[in-house]
Symmetry: C2
């Protein structure tokens, strides 16, 4: 096995979030499904942005948020994703590299689409509805998978959103192949219930064949197995994947490994300000702990703490240093990146 | 007097804020004065940005934050300021117009400097240190002063930062002339202690001759009158300006009108997350109340509530609807924009 240089390598859609508050009527009037990610063309994105109130811009992207969280936790990460060489691309690059994350992906050429954006609408209940224009992301393909970096990461983590593009799906499979060839682990988040609906068979095929750690929420796992029986969904997940973590909002999360079930409490918070990034930061905490060899219950605790931080403010990435936050809770994570 | 179309017209530097957290050591290493605004060239701005951690981008600019606050309070506002037709210029325009603010200033021509940015460093105590690259702002001049809009605004409000540029200062004086010719009021914020240092004589000259309402904090008023005796500074302010409001951080604020002194308590908050925008939103609350004919004590209360909202989260502009916030406190503001 090559030297371990990264706890987690993330592969995903590199996106800048444009976050605005709105009421439930706005979601309805614009024909959106609350709590979901919608893929939209540039024109529709511009229309929603035009109609909505003041916004805040911040780096996003599901797997990017996760590796940013790993960086904030004191871990080492790398990221593959496509941005353009424009204002948002520079913001994305700054934010991820300033956390020490290795982001070597070349920007797309001039004349290609701009950096991806997601107009994220946050309703008073803290729920977020995303409108993603993929822009430069659509150019991520197998050429962006650097096998040396994959081999140097304990865990390669990919977002299910990549399944929406055939070239990205091929990149995904290639990365999984390189990771396993190097004796590493592969992790996947199901990303979104609608995304699972669009690609159910391929998700199942990928999970059974190539994924060591699955992340999902209840809607996603139920959609994957087309059941409303959560216990049944968990049993099927246990049969399909060696390890899974299923988030259940305020009810906490469940870690599934064979017959084993570990219930993790949600970290109490006063109010959900903005749910954007909750799942991404849950994955960050869990993967960081797991990469360092922490027991599953500790990895789950780290996940809950990181997720709680993300939903207590606007924006998907940590607003405070997560390493300091977990230290203040008296949690110690092994510092054993090498060998 | 022409029809009143606006409660407040703001004139200032149109800026997009790039807000990042840092520790006190970062401020020192970069040779910055904590709590102050520094004018920096593009190169120095880029250097500070390169060195600092992840950031969030959001519309800013002192007077722009104030009129945005007036809009959020349910008031009607207009704004004069220069942006470029670039990503940040579009963000600035969206954010201010989406609050119903009339922003008619033409963007600068292609090839001119980009939209201004301020890299704002927020230390753990919530204090902010600003690094402003003026970019397109430097092109604001007398041609941008639309006399019809000035005449239609109850109060024309200008930021002291404009004194740093001769063309803007001339625009400033022209706007004051138009406002008074239409029987309107002129308001000025001193903006920053260093800015007062740079232009003390001109500030005094302007205040004595053309300003009806002055905003300042203790550092600024003390710098203006070169005294450390706050009572003395207030007496001199009372002699120079018909009405002034001096903010004193957690100690609240003092409204000064001739012999009259009205003490306004600060609105209690749990923790100062980011002081950016505190003074701007104080002015928003006060000017909105004053434009609607509210008693000074009520205008002061509105000011305190708006300022408290601004400092309880990252970013200078309201994260919630201020009209709803003041209604929830049982405060009613006269709805008498016209005649």
């Amino acid at each position: 096995m090559p030297d371990t240089r990264y706890d987690v390598l993330g592969i995903g859609n590199a996106i800048v979030d444009i976050i605005a508050r709105c009421d439930d009527a706005f979601i309805k009037v614009h024909g959106l499904d609350k709590g979901h990610m919608h893929l939209v063309e540039a024109e529709r994105s511009a229309m929603i942005y035009r109609d909505v109130g003041p916004a805040v811009e911040t780096s996003g992207g599901s797997a990017a948020n996760t590796v940013a969280g790993v960086g904030s936790l004191g871990g080492r990460g790398a990221y593959f994703g496509k941005v353009a060489d424009d204002t948002f691309g520079k913001i994305f690059r700054h934010d991820i590299t300033s956390l020490g994350i290795d982001f070597g992906s070349r920007p797309v050429a001039p004349g290609e689409p701009p950096t991806a954006t997601s107009v994220i609408l946050v309703t008073p209940d803290g729920e977020r509805t995303m409108n993603t224009n993929l822009g430069a992301c659509v150019l991520l393909d197998e050429a962006d998978i650097d096998p040396t970096k994959v081999a140097a990461a304990r865990i390669t983590y990919m977002e299910g959103y990549l399944f929406d593009r055939p070239a990205a799906k091929r990149a995904f499979r290639l990365a999984a192949k390189h990771a396993h060839a190097a004796g590493r682990q592969v992790s996947l988040t199901l990303s979104d219930g609608f995304c699972v609906d669009r690609h159910r068979a391929e998700f199942l095929d990928m999970i059974k064949g190539s994924v060591d750690i699955v992340f999902a929420n209840t809607a996603e796992i139920n959609s994957l197995y087309q059941t409303t029986d959560f216990g049944e969904a968990c049993r099927r997940m246990a049969a399909d994947a060696p390890l899974a973590a299923v988030t259940r909002g305020a009810a906490g999360s469940l870690i599934i490994r064979g017959e084993e079930r570990i219930e993790i409490a949600a970290e109490p918070i006063e109010r959900v300000v903005d749910a954007t990034g909750a799942g991404d930061l849950y994955a960050a905490g869990f993967l960081f702990g797991h990469a360092r060899g922490a027991p599953l219950a500790i990895s789950g605790r780290l996940a809950s703490i990181a997720a709680a931080e993300a939903i207590s403010h606007i924006g998907p990435r940590p607003a405070q240093n997560l390493a300091g936050l977990i230290a203040s809770r008296g949690i110690r994570v092994p510092d054993r990146l090498n060998p």
